[in-house]
Symmetry: C2
Subunit: 198 residues, 2 copies
């Protein structure tokens, strides 16, 4: 399984935001929506063997489960609506018990570190870093987890937790990419490797 | 220069569409907006050496010129607003004379074939095809142009014109990708190659 954690520093933690203003009033939720798109969409299919975790303001995490997703569309607005619906269910997320708000979409009362810890327990954590090894030189792990940030850098605390959890440090290319583009490149790299290996 | 043509078969040809419904009533304009994002955005910069052409319903082409772009934002809605503004200027686009509607954004009264012909005259046309050569085995051309379709396949006429214009036929990986993801992968490939060559 491929996993992605994307931390949204300014992302809303309540459902009181307008779908007409997701790149403004809703704290650049557009970035996270595009990451969900990149994580799951193939031309005429959903990548079922993928799990994506959107960390909202270090308070909640919305988990998208590829094998169970039903109502996911590629555009930003409809994905933002799924996230808003997940936040609507926040009173039902108690402790580490999630609330499923639509098929394959669940809200967890977990911030960045708790989500990172739970993913790290079952994955090889890959840190994307400009000083990392070129991705083409790295043998892809079986169950990789890529940890990404929205339009801001990781906070010092996040960066520290990530450095501690990271099993590998790679770079995807010479340019620094948006998080959603990094997901697309990571997928292509893993797809191509899987294809040439078997 | 890297160029991308993306043909939008259902895309609007008049500005009478709602920014609240770009994935529905506006003929999947969301797909084209994401292509613009992928074509131009780096983490904290615009790719200046890129030109993207959105063909709208085989009637108009909106050209985005990287070196001149000013008001481009990453989200779908604001890009749709730029396209709507370009369509607002359609009475000023006469013959092959474009109308510039905002810095770096111009409307041409040109359909798919006319746009393809004009791009082919100054580029190496790369056709993405599942039976093409793996992109990693192909020496990247200096001025590549990638020709992509929205959520529909190329029409028979478009496919014929593309096959006639194509200088190379490559595949980006084993999976069939959305057009915007294909642009991201193509950029990464060209970035990495440029990096390792110099």
């Amino acid at each position: 399984m491929r996993q992605f954690i994307i931390t949204g520093h300014d992302a809303p933690t309540t459902p009181e935001f307008s779908l007409d203003d997701i790149a403004g009033g809703a704290g650049r939720l557009d970035v996270l929506c595009r990451c969900v798109n990149s994580a799951f969409f193939l031309s005429h299919a959903i990548r079922e063997d993928v799990r994506a975790h959107l960390v909202l303001g270090d308070e909640y995490t919305v988990r998208f489960e590829g094998a169970e997703l039903r109502r996911l569309n590629p555009d930003e607005r409809s994905t933002a609506a799924l996230i808003r619906k997940a936040l609507d269910a926040r009173d039902e997320a108690i402790g580490h018990m999630p609330a499923e708000s639509s098929p394959g979409v669940s809200l967890y009362r977990m911030g960045f570190e708790a989500t990172l810890d739970s993913v790290a327990a079952e994955s090889t954590v890959v840190q994307l870093h400009e000083d990392g090894d070129p991705v083409v030189d790295v043998d892809p792990p079986e169950d990789p987890a890529f940890i990404l940030s929205d339009h801001h850098n990781f906070t010092d605390e996040e960066a520290e937790a990530l450095a501690a959890a990271a099993d590998e440090r790679v770079r995807l290319g010479p340019e620094i990419l948006h998080a959603d583009h990094a997901i697309t490149v990571a997928h292509n790299y893993l797809d191509t490797d899987a294809y040439t290996r078997y």
